[in-house]
């Protein structure tokens, strides 16, 4: 809700309450005033007119010595009656005179008998006379009355008037008060709204807009606000802050670039010798060795593999945290992908005497649209973890889509649970299970190994996909990790050739005697790569820089080039560009990059230079074969990493 609306929602009820109270007070004041005025007029009519008319005549009689002359007294009383009749016509008030002793009506301008309820009447002294006044009901009509006694003639004199005009006046006052109050509320609300808009909302909106620009551009902003109040000061502070943010962002971007560069270099520098170690260990195991030598070679290979995993984890985490990890959405068959993972990881499970099972719901004949690489990595991390901590037990993978899919692409929620019957996690450690470099117990690291990054990476990847990972665990009984992710899904309407083609490609064989040019400056890596390629029945020629590689391709007879990126004399990128510039079919010679740089954006640069595919070091037979097969079927594929 906008701040202006909020303020008005606060102001208007307060105003309404305030104005209503004021209006009600004004109404009561007016009510009392009108009633008082009416009673004042009534009592004054009684005392200053009626009683004066009577008294004047009596005093005249006394002065003339005629007080006890009946003919005069009767005549003068008759004069009084006549004057009251005239007064009744002039004022629309009624007059009644009652004999106090006999309660008989001496005179009345009303046709009906006047019987007043004077119990609740007020009394006042007016012109030295005691006057009673109030409201009563005469002949089913509300009346205001005032009465007083005229003792010399033993009279009780009453003046009456209908209450209707008074009630009408009060009704009018009530309506006027209501309308004026309402009008005042509307006008004051509009004025307050306008004032609030000018003094508060508009400046805040300017500051908000500036803050949004800062959040978007991280640039210094100027806010057009010339007020010398708190909001003006805030605007100046925001301007100053935006300048500092711009500076900090520049510094952070520089630092990030430096970090990325450092990681790229470190990745390359570590992977290059690791590539050699792994490759040589693999080659060594293929030579005739004694059992002890074979064990040493095997341990060497395992150690290198663990080191490679550690490096990959660190690089993955670094990419995620630096925001360089992007969601690459593709269509894929999740059921097939999970089945393949079960096959892949089943070997590890078997070696741990653990059974790996998989079941799914709503996934049959369904195509899921998400980042397959990240999903695969999440599941591999969770399942590998589960297998690692489960001995002679069961690890089950269950996957489902919350909503049934239709032929049209629709939003869906993927839920994958990885449950094991392993050692379980202590409750107090459970909250830290996704922290980086954290395992449930330090002894775990010693017993089971690992960097403690797997779960942290998996959780962050899940969050990148709009989901999360939750865990439930009981010591001695096992754990259950539940992954959720936002995906899109649809029913498969026709069989896609893609995955089948890949599977066909994987099952396809490379032609024997493929002429491969290996451009690699590192002698050990060259030996390893050459040996691995030769295992694939390739005829390998080796050169140690890009210039030689380009020259050799120009000579012809080369089917495919494996091109290291970082080489002396001429690097792989420049060499690839030269090859692409060759005329005829030579310019289309497939070039596969070999690099220890694991970042995707670097791979994009390499491909932009003309490379057809990238194989990341440390190279394996499988990776080389897969890349060759992709090219053999003539498809441009993305990074196989």
């Amino acid at each position: 809700m906008r701040i202006k609306t909020k303020l008005l929602m606060i102001y208007i009820p307060i105003l309404l309450i305030g104005m209503t109270v004021t209006g009600y007070w004004a109404y009561l004041t007016a009510y009392d005033s009108v009633r008082e005025r009416e009673y004042q007029l009534l009592t004054q009519t009684l005392t200053l007119n009626v009683l004066e008319i009577i008294n004047e005549r009596r005093e005249l009689l006394i002065e003339s010595g005629l007080e006890n002359v009946p003919v005069f007294r009767d005549a003068y009383q008759k004069e009084v009656f006549e004057e009251l009749k005239s007064l009744q016509q002039a004022t629309n008030r009624h007059f009644a005179i009652v004999d106090k002793s006999t309660e008989s009506i001496v005179f009345s301008t009303m046709k009906v008998p006047v019987v007043l309820n004077t119990q609740d009447a007020s009394s006042a002294m007016i012109a030295s006379r005691t006057v009673a006044f109030g409201e009563s009901n005469v002949n089913d009509q509300d009346v205001l009355f005032a009465c007083a006694e005229f003792n010399p003639w033993n009279w009780k004199v009453t003046v009456l008037q209908p209450a209707e005009p008074l009630q009408s006046s009060l009704f009018t006052i009530a309506w006027l008060t209501f309308l004026v109050t309402l009008l005042a509320v509307v006008i004051v609300s509009l004025l307050m709204g306008r004032v609030t808009q000018i003094l508060v909302v508009s400046p805040i909106e300017k500051i908000k807009s500036a803050a949004s620009r800062i959040a978007l551009d991280h640039k210094k902003v100027t806010i057009d606000l010339q007020q010398n109040d708190e909001l003006g000061a805030l605007a100046r502070d925001v301007e100053a802050m935006s300048g500092e943010i711009e500076q900090y962002v520049d510094e952070a971007q520089q630092a990030n670039r430096a970090k990325t560069d450092f990681l790229a270099v470190m990745s390359h520098e570590i992977r290059t010798p690791l590539n050699g170690i792994q490759g040589l260990a693999a080659l060594l195991l293929n030579t005739p060795l004694s059992d002890k030598q074979k064990q040493y070679a095997s341990d060497l290979k395992s150690s290198a593999s663990i080191l490679a995993t550690v490096i990959n984890d660190v690089l993955d985490l670094s990419k995620i945290e630096s925001g360089m990890s992007e969601v690459d959405v593709t269509e894929f068959d999740l059921d097939v992908m999970l089945n393949e993972l079960v096959t892949l990881l089943g070997t590890n499970a078997s070696s741990n005497n653990t059974r790996l099972v998989y079941k799914s719901k709503n996934l049959e004949s369904v195509v899921v649209i998400s980042d397959i690489t990240k999903l695969r990595q999440i599941i591999i991390n969770l399942v590998s973890n589960a297998i690692k901590f489960t001995h002679k037990g069961t690890v089950s993978i269950s996957a489902k889509l919350k909503e049934s899919s239709t032929e049209n692409v629709c939003e869906n929620r993927l839920v994958i649970a990885v449950k094991d019957s392993g050692i379980g996690i202590e409750p107090d450690r459970l909250v830290h299970i996704f922290d980086k470099f954290t395992q449930s117990d330090s002894s775990i690291t010693r017993e089971y190994g690992g960097t403690g990054l797997g779960l942290a990476i998996a959780k962050q990847l899940a969050q990148l996909l709009g989901g999360d990972i939750n865990v439930v665990s009981k010591v001695g009984e096992g754990s259950c990790f539940t992954v959720t992710a936002n995906v899109q899904s649809r029913l498969k309407v026709e069989t896609s050739n893609d995955l089948a083609s890949v599977r066909d490609a994987n099952s396809a064989k490379l032609p024997a005697g493929l002429k491969v040019l290996l451009a690699e400056d590192n002698a050990i890596n060259a030996v390893v790569a050459q040996a691995l390629l030769e295992q694939l029945d390739c005829v390998v020629e080796h050169v140690d820089n890009g210039l030689k590689a380009a020259a050799r391709v120009e000579e012809g007879g080369i089917d495919v080039v494996f091109m290291d990126v970082h080489m002396p004399v001429m690097d792989g990128i420049e060499a690839t560009k030269r090859i692409r510039k060759l005329s005829g079919t030579l310019g289309h010679t497939p070039v596969i990059g070999l690099t220890a740089e694991a970042f995707k954006e670097r791979h994009t640069v390499f491909k932009a230079a003309g490379m057809n595919d990238i194989v990341t070091k440390p190279v394996t037979v499988d990776a080389l074969q897969e890349s060759l097969l992709k090219l053999a079927i003539g498809q441009e594929v993305t990074d196989n990493k």
């Binding site: 004047e56 005549r57 005249l60 002065e63 003339s64 010595g65 005629l66 002359v69 003919v71 005069f72 009767d74 005549a75 003068y76 004069e79």
Partner: protein, 340 residues
Amino acid sequence: MTKVLIFTLLALSSLALSTVSVLAKEAYRVVIVETLPVPIVTESRIEFEKELVRIMPEYDIDITRYNAEGSELRAQTILAEIAKEPAPDLVVSVATLATRALNASDQFVDVPKLFMAVSSPVEEGIVPAIGASSERNITGESHVLDAKVKLDMLEGVLRASNPSTPFTIGLIHSTYPSSSSLVSHLLALNGNYEHINLVAISTPYIEGDEGLTAMTEKIVESLQQRKSELDGYWLSSGPLVEANGLVARVKEKTGLLPLFAENISSVKEGALIGVASEPVSIGKSAARKAKLILDKKSAKNIPVEKMDTYTVAVNVTTAIKLQLPIPSSYLKLAKKHVYQ
């Protein structure tokens, strides 16, 4: 030295003479001609003289008085004698006959003239209407209330008793000019009043004090003859109303009481209600007009008007006796003139 002394004495003498001449009051000669020596005439004249002297203190007012003894002829004679003397600054006539003679005299055409205590100046031919000016260099005031007002007052009193039949009232008067004129007005309006039935009872006007006595006797005699048909009588304005003992004589001889009188003294004697201009008012009002004339305002430019001050009087003893309650408004008007 002697020359200087003589010169100084001469200078002082001339200064003293000039001072005396400055301090000496200017003198006016005023001649008053009364019609007859009845109270309203005499008292009005006396009040006139007192008021004139009071309001013109810077002048010496030399007043010469004449009385025509109720005779117009005598008045004419007096005026002729006055005409032989140097013309006065102002000639004042009191009452109708003296005024009639003065207005008719051609010897005083250029002398400013003022009249007072005249009932009907229009009927006397002085002016064509009340409010108009006279070409004969004369002005003054009528001291008598309009006939309609008087009839309204009496009707108000009679109506209060709610009588079943109208009151038959003897309208007594003499043939004195103003009386005759007023009576004819009253009789002309009588038909408009429910409770009044006026019956004219007249006596010839006789000059002099003996005339007043004779007129009284004549009226008493007439009333005696008609007393059975009368509920009371009306004392009209004129010499008759000024006659001493008229009311008492009528009461003694007929038992009738006056219901309306046009002088206050009759109310004191028993008239139910009366209304008249008092001599004090007549004299003072005339003195104010005389001052205007002596201050060189032409009498031709001063319109003849009716007086604006009248006195109402009531007699409550008569009211009680006749069981006629006087309306409070009249009682209030009467104020100090409520008699018992």
